[in-house]
Amino acid sequence: MDQVLSWLQDYLGFLFIMLCLGLILFYVTLGRDRPKISLRDIQAFRHFWREVDLAVEAGKRLHISLGRGTINDVPGGAAFIGLTVLDCCARAASNGDRPPMVTTGDGALTILSQDTLQNTYRSLATEQRYDPTNARLTGLTPMAYAAGAMPTIHDENVSANFFAGHFGTEIALLTEAGERSRSLTVAGTDSIPAQAVLYATSDEPLLGEELYAAGAYLGAGQVHLVSLGMQDILRWVLVVVIVLGAILKLLGI
């Protein structure tokens, strides 16, 4: 029994990931015969889409900020969501006069964002619109990154900012810049202190897992919707496990 428990402890993480993968694949195979998954209304995404349309009409820019999380580490997860947002925004704004701007605080993220922009334009057969300087590294320390990204918000005729990635409390300086330039700020991050700051400073904060739903809400594809379904199921499983654990501890078992 002890051996089984020890084995479980060692490989529980792996089993959990396999369960996630299994659920995604199950939903994908089921997806063709099922009606479309319905999403609850998140005001931030609704407002952002409206602002994208207005930006295209008014000849303004979108600004996507991917934070300063390195992709070699856990914070990179949130930055990958930012890249999905970038892809969706570049597609949506492809009819506009001015392509979106991207700011990052990490060298690898800068290259990935340039690559994402180039691939998006290539898939739309508008590769001539690609300009590598539209994806910029603005600084490598938290404050340098914020100080470097603020002029983009002020000077580049931005109508909406989407902050998606790993940020610290310095994000308040960026949301304040958005407020001063009268542009919409939608922001989500994986950092808890930054989420508290965003609640107070951002027009449309994305709290907790809402950021990770961005792909599904911005129309990034069926697998994004399916993985959202997987997250919902596993969240309930975790809630049940935590409540059961608390009850068992209360009972002294």
Binding site: I24, L83, P132, T141, Y212, S227
Partner: protein, 207 residues
């Protein structure tokens, strides 16, 4: 070639990702390969950093060329960048001149930005009620106020023990419970993001 390259990129990315993931759980079998791949990733990230700095320089050179004197800050940035690079190359990353630049310019500027941040947060807190006039905004602001009052000795009164105890309870019980709930959501989202990349659905690497 245009079709083969993206597919090759995707195969390499997915295969490397799966090997690194397996290395975390089956260290005996995949640990060696995982270490090699992570080592390569670190080297590539260092080169990516150099390219990022080059990108930063190109952006500001273009600004100076197009806008001239109007963009004095870009000029200052470029001069500072090249001077720092030259001095750090001669003096070394922990040399006295490099440290002098760091302590004389970077540290004071970052600290002053932190001070600005404190004011920005104060103003944002005051503006919050007009931005989002809801009951949980009031709860948020009252909690912030209680934690602030419980964190510092009050003028002429000193430390108020019930406030300190309340602050300690607020930061150790409801705040930790809420943060764990948010972190669970973040963890599930991160797993889903990672799996989409490993499945080759999301390809931010040009696949």
């Amino acid at each position: 070639m245009k079709k083969i390259l993206p597919i090759t990129n995707a195969i390499i990315a997915v295969f490397s990702g799966v090997l690194v993931l397996l290395g975390y759980f089956f260290h005996g079998v995949f640990g060696g390969v995982q270490s090699i791949l992570i080592g390569w990733a670190i080297i590539l990230a260092a080169f990516a950093l150099l390219l990022g700095i080059l990108n930063l320089a190109i952006v500001h050179i273009r600004k100076v060329r197009l806008e001239g004197k109007k963009n004095i800050y870009s000029l200052v940035l470029l001069i500072s960048l090249f001077l720092t690079m030259i001095i750090a190359t001669i003096s070394g990353p922990s040399g006295s001149w490099t440290l002098w630049i760091f302590n004389t310019f970077q540290v004071p500027i970052e600290i002053s930005l932190l001070a600005v941040l404190a004011i920005v947060l104060l103003v944002a807190g005051a503006r919050l009620l007009s931005r989002r006039p809801k009951w949980y905004t009031v709860l948020f602001l009252v909690t912030v106020l209680l934690v602030l009052l419980g964190s510092v000795p009050l003028f002429l009164i000193g430390e108020v023990t019930p406030l300190t105890a309340l602050r300690s309870w607020l930061s150790q019980v409801p705040a930790v419970a809420g943060a764990r709930g948010l972190l669970l959501g973040v963890a599930l989202g991160t797993i889903a993001t990672g799996l989409r990349i490993l499945m080759g659905v999301d390809r931010p690497y040009g696949g």
